[in-house]
Amino acid sequence: MLRVSLLTLSVVAIAHAELCKPDAQNAFKVRLSIKTALGENAYAWDANEEYLFKAMVAFAMRRYSSKSTTQISNVLLCNVTDRVSFWFVVTDSSKNVTTVPGSEVEAAIRMNRNRINSAFLLSDKTLQFLKITSTLSPPVEPATPVWLIVFGVVLCLIVAGIVFLVVSGIQKHKKKTKESTERENLEEKGEVTVTVENGIPCEVLDLKAGHVNGVFAADDERFTPL
């Protein structure tokens, strides 16, 4: 009895060793970077974590093929290293000593990648299934690109500024021409004299381009009063 059970165990072990080895058919390498992902909260990789992994893979296979035949014992792990990386393979319990085709396993893992990642608190980058490419999520893009909105705002401000300046310039110009025609009319009537110095009216000279010459500034007291 004991000998028979020992024999079956060794047969199973050898069969498993045959099925699960690096670069075996339908086997996948997994690589975890727990310390990179979690830093101080990193957990150690032990037999319990391996059990969880087998459970997750079995769960993925069940969900994918929707037949409840895959058991945890169907998932074989081997060559666990310190990196934490290992190879796994899924056996088919209905057919003896065969593995589930790699394409099925790949599709199953792909479908449930999110669930597997969150079970280990990792992401696509830190829980890598080599040979299984992950679908990268595209960045969120709003309906109108943000830059057009900002562009529109700035454009409206600038155009408003230009219109305001142009319109006020036209109004000032109209007022000036009205004033100058009024002044010309008054000049013709001889009522307003505009003091002019070298062709430039004195008001303009006063404002900016002229300087009052201190020597000639009327200091009436210097002149002897009459």
Partner: protein, 592 residues
């Protein structure tokens, strides 16, 4: 009744306008590159010598001419001698070329500014490829910042010949840039005078913020040490001196006519000597300040890339040999590599081609100038900072202020002669003249928004102004010293500012500066002749890097045309005046 000339509200507006014009993008993206190439801290020696020999005297000369003649460039040189009206026209032509292509830089700054309001920044990550299994191929080969610049901003074609279509996004940004310039110059000095308060001071605020941020970045010190260690042996390299002279010359914006235009709006008694010294000193100090900021950013970027490289090597080794996480660090990398080479020689040999030798020196050595520095290197550094959106907005807003400040000077150089000329000014108000000039420039500038636009931009940037300006300023200096007469000029200055220029100014104007310019001209001409065919850098999308190509025939023709259009104005102007005088004399003699 004569309409009096518009004036600056106060001398401070004039100083700010000159600073805003002179302190431009060249201070930020050319000076740090020259510093790095020609001996770090040692480059400051030729730089300051050239500032004293060439920069200050020529700046003072232009300001004095503008203030005395109270006319734009065409009118001012006509007063000095009727045969020199060609010099003024040449200045206007060069300014016209400059304003055509310079505003495209503002368009790019707007583009980056608008894209800074996103999280994450669009140049931080590569976009995904069509079936979402990885990143875009072109982006993989190069970096995400370079991809954003060459593909998503410029959408650059592989060569000059393949013109491609116009990029509507860039065209929109260019139109906006021209609208902003129009808004600032619309009312002449009235509006420009107020705008320059902002465009002159804001870049300094941003530079100070960046200085504080830059110096506190991890690895900034590496960049600063690398930059400031003087390599004095470079001083024996003539190229260092020539680059210093060229940088001072172009950085101050001499010869465009903008300084003459700004000074013509001054009161006649303005102390332009003091202002010339102030503006040139501020310009040079800003260059040095900007290069401190740039080098701390360089140091940060180089350290970041070096550490990423080391981390990549560590990851590669860990994955290949299934070592425990954390067993390989940057410190023990060397020993571990030797150990692995000894224990697993075959696998290590297989891995060797992928193991890059990470070197901090190599990262720091990547000297970049121009648009590459401003838009690629800086955005790469910014994306790795905390709160990158804030720093990105600040930085591109600063670039915008610098660019618009320079544009104000350029457009003033074109508009002042136009508004001075009685023919045009009496028929059209200055708003219309400004509008027409901006519109024409905008339409021509649309060339630079095509797929090959960046190559045309490089042509304009390298050839439109360089040779012509040297010739223009040479003729200006000789005209003032020898044709107008330095004694007459002395007397004019005495009338204006109350004292005669001392011997330093006179020696520089009469001998040192013309000699320097002549030697620069000779150097450039021999350089052009010796290089033979002119070449340009084209972006190869398949390799993800720049490759050198020869210019096609018609591009060389355009280059020749650019140089000829401005330089030929000088002799043609003299010839035209000579013929006109001859005809007048003949008419008078026949009448009498």
């Amino acid at each position: 009744m004569e309409k009096s000339r518009p004036l600056w509200d106060n001398p401070l507006q004039f100083v700010f306008a000159c600073i805003s014009y002179a302190v431009g993008l060249g201070n930020v993206w050319r000076f740090p590159y020259l510093c790095q190439m020609y001996g770090g801290g040692g480059f400051l020696i030729p730089y300051f010598i050239m500032l004293i020999a060439e920069g200050m005297p020529l700046l003072y000369l232009e300001l004095a001419v503008g203030q005395r003649m109270r006319r734009g460039s065409i009118g001012a040189w006509k007063i000095i001698s009727p045969y020199l009206c060609g010099v003024g026209v040449a200045s206007v032509v060069v300014s016209f070329f400059l304003s055509m292509y310079y505003n495209v830089i503002n368009a790019w700054a707007f583009w980056y500014l608008f894209h800074s309001f996103q999280d994450p920044l669009p140049w931080a990550t590569c976009p995904l490829n069509s079936n979402r299994t990885g990143y875009e191929e072109e982006c993989e080969k190069t970096s995400s910042t370079q991809y954003f610049w060459y593909r998503q901003t410029l959408n650059i074609s592989p060569s000059l010949e393949a013109s491609g279509s116009m990029q509507w996004e860039q065209a929109l940004c260019l139109t906006l840039a021209w609208l902003v310039v129009y808004l600032c110059i619309l009312r002449g000095t009235e509006s420009t005078g107020k705008v320059v308060y902002v465009t002159a001071s804001l870049p300094y605020c941003v530079l100070i913020i960046y200085l504080i941020r830059g110096l506190t970045l991890h690895g900034a010190v590496n960049g600063l040490i690398y930059m400031f260690t003087p390599k004095l042996e470079q001083l024996s390299n003539p190229k260092a001196w020539i680059s210093a002279a060229t940088q001072i010359f172009f950085s101050l914006g001499l010869g465009f006519g903008s300084l003459i235009a700004f000074a013509s709006y001054n009161e006649p008694s303005n102390n332009c000597e003091r202002h010339a010294i102030i503006v040139s000193l501020i310009n040079s100090t800003t260059s040095i300040f900007a290069s401190i900021v740039t080098f701390s950013i360089y140091g940060f970027k180089a350290t970041f890339n070096y550490e990423s490289c080391i981390n990549k090597v560590i990851l590669l080794l860990m994955n290949a040999f299934d070592l425990e996480e954390g067993s390989l660090t940057a410190d023990n990398l060397g020993e571990m590599k030797d150990y692995l080479m000894a224990t697993h020689p075959q696998e290590y040999a297989q891995l060797l081609p992928q193991l890059k030798n990470c070197s901090l020196e190599a990262e720091l050595d990547t000297a970049v100038q121009g648009t590459g520095l401003a838009f690629i290197v800086y955005s790469e550094a910014i994306k790795n900072m905390e709160v990158p959106q804030l720093y990105s907005v600040l930085y591109f807003f600063m670039l915008l202020m610098l660019g618009i400040g320079s544009m104000l000077g350029n457009t003033a150089a074109i508009l002042t002669p136009l508004t001075d000329s009685k023919v045009i000014a009496t028929h059209f108000p200055k708003e219309v003249i400004s509008g027409v000039v901006c519109f024409i420039n905008c339409v021509i500038g649309l060339i630079f928004t095509m797929e090959a636009g960046n190559y045309w931009f490089d042509i304009f940037n390298d050839y439109a102004a360089t040779l012509s300006l040297l010739l223009i300023v040479l003729v200006e200096t000789i005209a003032v010293c020898y044709i107008y007469g330095i004694r007459r000029f002395e007397k004019d200055l005495h009338t204006m500012i109350g004292r005669k220029p001392n011997w330093y100014w006179k020696i520089m104007w009469a001998f040192a500066s013309p000699l320097l310019i002549i030697s620069l001209l000779i150097f450039y001409l021999t350089d052009y002749i010796l290089t033979g065919t002119l070449q340009y850098q084209a972006w190869d999308a398949t390799q993800g890097q720049l490759v050198t190509k020869d210019y096609p025939g018609y591009a060389l023709a355009v280059i020749g045309l650019l140089v000829a259009a401005s330089t030929m104005c000088i002799p043609l102007g003299a010839l035209g005046t000579f013929i006109r005088k001859r005809l007048k004399r003949e008419r008078v003699s026949t009448v009498a």
